[in-house]
C-alpha cells in the first residue's frame, strides 16, 4: 500500500456542503454545482496514492483546487468527505492530539511564500518543528544545523530571513521541513515565487536531495514544465477534479482528454521525449570478427550504407561503412585491422531529444542508442528525430471536461 493514499477526498466550501456531495459523485462541473446548490467545490472525489520515496506532482492552474488538496492532507483545511491514509491510518478520523502528533512527526510542509518567522534567525526557523516537539535545545540545534547544511545554508544560521534572497529563504523553509525528519514532505508551490533561473536550479537540487534522502514528496505546482521535470508521476487537476494520473511521458503521448491535450501542447517536448521514444530498433548488426563481405551483405539487406558492430555481449564496438568495405575488397587488402571505425556517436536511452539535436549537426552518421552497459538498443535517424520533436499524442475521446468551458472560478 502507498505511504499516502487519498480516497474520494472532497472539499466543498459553503454553508451546506452536504448538498453538493451527490452532485460531485455524479461529476457535475464546479459551475453546475454552484448554480444548483450555491456551494463551491474545492476538490471533488480525488483519489490517488503516493508511493514511498516518490515525487508525486499535483499540477493544475489557479482555481484547480491544488492548494485546497494539499491543505486537506494535513487538515489545515477540513475535508468534507473522503479519507486520507498515512501509513494506513485515516487522518480524517484523528483526534486533535493525534493530528498534532502526525503533523509533528510524519508530515512537514514547505510554503509558497516561505512563511518564515521574521523574528527568528535562520537557525531559529529551522529549529521550529523540533522545538514544538519538545526536543531539547542542544539536540535540536544540532539537527537543525544538519538540515541547513543539507540545503547548502551552513554559515548563514545567524542571519535573519529578511537578509536572504528568495532562493535562500526557500532553502530555510526546506531545512525547517527536513529537520523534523518527516516521512512525507508537502510542497505547496514551493518554487513558484522564485525567479525562473533559480527555479530550474532549485528543481534539480531538490530532485538530487530527494534521491539522496529518499523522502516521499507531494509537490504542488501550476507549471507543467516543473511538473514534468520534478515528477515521477503527475496528477493533473482541473476545476477540482482529477483529469489524468501518469508519468510525464504517458500524459504527453496519451493525453486523457482534450483539455490535457491542449494543455500539453505548450510543453517543449524536446525536454521530455527521450532517445528511446524516437529510436528505431536495429535488427541487423555486424559482429566483431565478421568479414567485409558478410558486413556488406547485411548492409545491403538493411538498406543502409553503414552498420553498427557489436561484441558477443551486444555491446557497441564501432561502425562499419560500405565504402570502406568495398575499398578493402577491391584492393584485396589482407589486413582487416581498421575495417571498423571505433569513434561512434552514441547516446543513452534516457537522453532527451534537446541534447541529441545538436549532435545531429556534427555528423551524417546514424546515432547509436545504448543503455548504461553500452548495449546497443537502437538508432536515431534524422527523420524519426524530427517526427519526435513535432508529433504529439491525441486524446482518444472527448469527455465531460469539455463541457466546462468557463475557466477560473476561485
Amino acid at each position: 500500500m502507498a505511504i499516502l493514499e487519498l480516497d474520494g477526498l472532497t472539499k466543498i466550501f459553503g454553508p451546506e456542503p452536504e448538498a453538493a456531495l451527490d452532485l460531485v459523485d455524479r461529476r457535475l462541473s464546479r459551475e453546475e454545482i454552484r448554480e444548483k446548490t450555491g456551494q463551491t467545490v474545492g476538490i471533488g472525489d480525488v483519489s490517488f496514492g503516493v508511493e514511498e520515496g516518490e515525487i508525486l506532482v499535483v499540477m493544475g492552474l489557479s482555481g484547480s483546487g491544488k492548494s485546497t488538496l494539499i491543505r486537506c492532507v494535513n487538515r489545515l483545511i477540513e475535508p468534507t468527505a473522503g479519507s486520507i491514509y498515512v501509513d494506513d491510518e485515516d487522518v480524517t478520523e484523528m483526534s486533535s492530539k493525534e493530528l498534532r502528533s502526525l503533523r509533528r512527526h510524519k508530515l512537514a510542509m514547505v510554503f509558497q511564500h516561505f512563511a518564515l518567522m521574521p523574528h527568528r534567525t535562520v537557525l531559529g526557523n529551522a529549529e521550529y518543528g523540533l522545538e514544538v516537539m519538545g526536543v531539547d535545545a542542544e539536540e535540536r540545534r544540532r539537527e537543525a544545523m544538519e538540515a541547513l547544511d543539507m540545503v547548502g545554508l551552513a554559515g548563514w544560521e545567524h542571519e535573519y530571513p529578511e537578509q536572504l534572497s528568495g532562493g535562500m529563504k526557500q532553502r530555510v523553509g526546506l531545512a525547517r521541513a527536513l529537520a523534523v525528519d518527516p516521512e512525507i514532505v508537502l510542497m505547496d508551490e514551493a518554487l513558484s515565487a522564485l525567479d525562473p533561473l533559480i527555479r530550474t536550479d532549485m528543481q534539480n537540487e531538490l530532485i538530487a536531495l530527494q534521491r539522496k534522502l529518499g523522502k516521499t514528496m507531494l509537490f504542488i505546482t501550476h507549471d507543467l514544465d516543473e511538473a514534468i521535470n520534478m515528477g515521477d508521476r503527475i496528477v493533473l487537476l482541473k476545476d477540482g477534479y482529477v483529469v489524468q494520473v501518469g508519468t510525464a511521458e504517458e500524459i504527453l503521448s496519451n493525453p486523457a482528454t482534450k483539455y490535457v491535450e491542449q494543455f500539453v501542447a505548450e510543453v517543449d517536448v524536446s525536454k521530455v521525449r527521450t532517445a528511446q521514444t524516437v529510436m528505431k530498433e536495429v535488427h541487423e548488426v555486424a559482429h566483431v570478427g565478421d568479414g567485409p563481405r558478410a558486413m556488406l551483405r547485411k548492409m545491403e539487406k538493411a538498406g543502409f550504407s553503414s552498420i553498427f558492430v557489436v561484441d558477443s555481449q551486444g555491446r557497441l564496438v564501432g561502425l562499419a561503412r560500405a565504402d570502406r568495405m568495398r575499398d578493402v575488397l577491391e584492393r584485396d587488402e589482407e589486413a582487416y585491422g581498421d575495417l571498423i571505425e571505433e569513434e561512434v556517436r552514441s547516446v543513452r536511452l534516457e537522453t532527451p531529444l534537446e541534447e541529441i539535436t545538436p549532435r545531429m549537426r556534427e555528423t551524417r552518421d546514424p546515432i547509436a542508442v545504448v543503455d548504461e552497459e553500452d548495449k546497443l538498443h537502437g538508432v536515431v535517424l534524422i527523420g524519426e528525430l524530427l517526427a519526435g520533436l513535432t508529433e504529439r499524442g491525441e486524446a482518444e475521446e472527448d469527455d465531460l471536461q469539455q463541457k466546462t468551458q468557463s475557466q477560473g472560478t476561485e
Binding site: 489545515l76 508530515l107 518567522m117 523574528h119 518543528g129
Partner: protein
Amino acid sequence: MDIQPPKIPLDQWINQGIEWLTSSIGGVTNLVANWIDGAVGTMTDFLTWYPAPMMIVLFALLAWWISRRVKIGFFTLVALGFIWGGMGLWVSTIQTLNLVLLSAALAIAIGIPLGILGALFKHFRLMLMPVLDVMQTLPPFVYLLPAVPIFGLGSTAAVFATVIFAMPPVTRLTTLGIQQVSDELVEAVDSFGSTRWQKLVKLQIPLAMASIRAGVNQTILLSLSMVVIAAMIGAKGLGAEVWKAIQRLQYGRGFEAGIAIVLIAMVLDRVLRRVGQATGSSESAATAK
C-alpha cells in the same frame, strides 16, 4: 398636540445600582482604596525623600538608557530641572508620575490579556469591541463622579477612572497586531503541530509586539491626561495644582502647572517612542535562542 414620551427611569436604575454597589461591596472597595492610597503615598514619600536634583539626574540617566539617545536624556534633565527649579512643582510631578505609572500598569495588565482573548475568540471579540467603544466615547466625567461614592475621594477613584479611560488602545492594538499575523505563517506553525499556546507565544505575540508597544505608549499618554482631570475627585499632583489655581483665579500658577504637564508628556512620549526601536533587534535575537 403635545406628546409626552414615556420616560424610562434609566437614571434611577443606575442610581440604585451605584447605591447597591456602594453598600454591598463598600467594605471591599474601601479596603482596596486604603491599600492603593497607601501605596501611592509611600511611593511618593520614597521618591521625594531623596533630594530632587539627585532624582532628576537619575531620571535623565534612565531616559538616556531606555531610549539610547543622549539628546533625550539631556532633554529630560532640562525639562525636569525647569519643573523643579524654575516652577517648584517637583512633589506634584512625582505624585502625577506615580498615578500614571500605577494606572497605566493596571490598564496594560488587564488590557493585553483581553486583547489576546479578543484576537483568539471571535465571539469574545464581538462582545469586547462595543464595550471598548463605550469606554472611549463615554465622557469621563460620567464615571468619574460615581467612582467617588464607591472608592471615596482620592487616588483610588482616580486610578479606577483612568484605567477605564486609558485601556482601550492597548486592547485594540493587541487584538489588531495578532490578527495581522499573515495566514501563511499561522498555517506554517499549525502544519508543524504547534499547540494553541505555542502558536501564541512563539508566533502571534512576538509578531504583534510592535503593535502592542504602540498601544502601550498610547495608554500611558492617555493615563497622563486622565490623571490630570482626576484632580476633580481628589487626585493629587499637577492636575490638583491646575484645579487649585483655577479656583483661586491664579491664572499664571495654572499655566505653570499646565506647562509642567506638557513637559512630562513630552518626556514620556520621546522615551516611549524609542523603546520599540531600540530593543526590537535584541528582543528578536533573544526569542530565537
